[in-house]
Symmetry: C2
Subunit: 411 residues, 2 copies
């Protein structure tokens, strides 16, 4: 017997359970439906979010703290899983290619956004926010689609994943800079350099220190405890490195991904992944439904919003696809890389939200940015699916989990 | 890249992850430690809660809504798991015995509490609250201990589980009555009867209707979807029945247990349990750490608190142990049943909290009630362990989960 303790007041537990039931049921049913028509499950989950969110049913309020927190735990778990399945050496072996894709994939969309802002007569700061939002790549969406398709081990996937992580780190720097500018602050080259070095340095240092310290500790832990304790302690480590990343100015999901990379080559990767995968079945869909629910499609009817939105969408797609072709020496399928970089996801939404909150963006341009985020997020999964075809080889470790390719894939 | 969207303000995601990391690490490490010294893991988790809570480190604030919600999800998942492993026919076969234990286990502690209250000169309402708090049984603690020991299938365990569920339902009725009285309301026999019938009727009706409707729906679902979707839809069903139970005046965990009973005999029980068990490894310890953190051991130094607390502890233990001996026809080990009914857990805390909030209990008597709850909750696991010995037969279905006896047991 459990009743809400009266002193707490505000939070109704049954109401939260009801919203969670709707999110899980919607995500699973639309995810299955998406797969039935040959699309990645994540597309169905995003659509479930739009339907459950304020746009249509209004049943899931994405600003509800509990849902937001569960969603963030979901994306932390997802990136931890992706990290666990990622071979750092293979990732570094495409490092030059990934770096080129990331740099061009930031510079070109930013330049195009800047041109559009000037052409439409936006203010200086508004132009900066719009241009910055175009640089984002959602590593969560991209990684999930590649995982859904069982393609995490393809060379193109490694380039996309590497570039998306670099892009995410660059995005953090840009967001820090933009946030400072819209708050009326001034930029110094030293300040920007420190922010940039911290963001990149974190991954390198965490990886080096982690590789030397974490596996021995877990070796001792393993000899005295059960596998499920090991799995939960792996998750605890991921949480701690995520928090550490956040506290030094990097991002939680970069920390979670790095935690996965630390465990990946060790003997502990498998039991930890086994324990975390099924947690992911619960938490990860909450994240994608939350992203879907965060967009409001009702504001798209105005002609000006449609026009600005269309221009931004064109710039967003052209900029990232061109970035895929930038590494001229790369022999793989460049279009796959370009399309893989297209989704802006929650990262683009955060830029738009920051600009709106600071009063730099008009509501109309905020809507146009949102439209760009939605379209880029929703077109990438079906396009990648079409380019890559049905998953022929499930990811190697996901294989051994509970069922073939079960990390997040059900194809 | 995910940053807290500024508009939300209050909730710091990294802070929540940090608290969760502390809860999980504390629960797993103290749980393992408890088992190393021959105690059920749940005892270690409760102690981890006391250490992390306001009593000592002050690191986990049990009134934090997010922790409270995750804890409630944990106990809902736990009772769903227990229900999935419970055979209704076997439960009903000991129904008369369980009913007798439950009735005596409510009446006798209530009477003893009433005598103590009168002897110490408590007010009328304060006496009622104290007596009512003594009637509670925490089905969560009891079920978890039996599961830890791999004893869920013993005849004594079934009596305890059945009696604890009946007791929980009776507890709901008493709480509703006491809450009305302390709020200055009046009792009518009709009102009490309706509350009682609703609380008991829910389980019967849900079980009947559920058995006829849920398995066919899941049969269809199973033919078109993956096992992990099936598992999540099972959890969704448990959440919905839990909410339904709450909304008709029963309790969420009674609903979750009933949902487990509905699935238990069907072919879907196994895949659902497989999917839910690992979720439980994350959520269930949060509940027990939360229970541990909810008690404040610092107020126990006063002599009067110690005296009243000692009297209440004696009444609490004598009342429930005597109840174990009440069914004179029962051939099993009656002391096991009596001890199994002793822990008051979070149920007792809710009574105490209600009384304190309503201004009916003095702070000293609130502390004494809390002491009774702690002692009864903490002594039952080691006593049961001593009476039952090491788990010789892990519960039959938990066996097939991820590792032998893995439902919640690591012994």
């Amino acid at each position: 017997m459990l009743l809400a303790i009266p002193a707490e007041g505000a939070v109704s537990i049954p109401a939260v359970l009801l919203v969670l039931a709707a999110i899980l049921a919607g995500a699973k049913l639309f995810g299955e439906l998406a797969e039935k028509i040959g699309q990645p499950a994540v597309l169905g989950e995003l659509i479930a979010g739009v339907i459950l969110g304020p746009s249509i049913l209004g049943f899931v309020d994405p600003s509800l703290p509990i849902i937001h927190i569960l969603a963030e735990i979901g994306v932390v778990i997802l990136l931890f899983q992706i990290g666990l399945e990622t071979d750092v050496r293979k990732l570094l072996s495409v490092g030059g290619t990934a770096f080129m894709v990331a740099v061009v994939g930031v510079a070109l969309p930013f330049a195009l956004g800047y041109l559009i802002g000037n052409a439409l007569g936006f203010g200086h700061l508004e132009t900066l926010v719009v241009a910055a939002a175009l640089t984002a790549t959602s590593v969560g969406i991209t990684a999930r689609v590649l995982s859904d398709l069982g393609r995490l081990d393809d060379v193109e996937s490694r380039v996309v994943l590497g570039a998306a992580v670099i892009d995410d780190i660059v995005g953090l720097v840009i967001l820090a800079v933009v946030a400072k500018l819209v708050a009326g602050g001034e930029l110094t080259p030293v300040g920007v350099s420190i922010t940039t070095l911290t963001a990149f340095g974190f991954v390198a240092v965490a990886l080096l220190v982690g590789r030397f310290t974490v596996p021995p500790v877990f070796g001792m832990l393993r000899s005295v405890s059960s596998e499920q304790t090991l799995a939960m302690m792996g998750l605890v480590t991921a949480f701690l490195i995520a928090v550490l990343a956040d506290s030094v100015g990097s991002a939680m999901i970069i920390g979670a991904f790095t935690a996965g990379l630390i465990f990946a080559p060790s003997e502990h990767a498998h039991p930890i992944e086994l324990g975390v995968v099924r947690l992911g079945h619960f938490f990860v869909p909450i994240f994608f439904v939350w992203v879907g629910a965060s967009v409001d499609v009702r504001s798209f009817a105005e002609p000006r919003v449609l026009l600005v939105g269309a221009l931004l969408i064109a710039a967003a797609i052209i900029g990232k696809v061109a970035a895929g072709y930038a590494p001229w020496w790369f022999k793989g399928r460049k279009l796959v890389i370009g399309i893989g970089m297209v989704p802006r996801g929650e990262v683009g939404l955060i830029f738009a939200q920051t600009g709106l909150t600071a009063g730099v963006l008009t509501v109309g341009d905020f809507s146009a940015l949102t439209m760009m985020v939605i379209v880029t997020t929703f077109i990438a999964p079906p396009l990648l699916k079409r380019l890559l075809g049905p998953g022929t080889k499930p990811s190697p470790k996901g294989d051994d989990a509970d069922r073939p390719g079960s990390l997040v894939s059900e194809a």
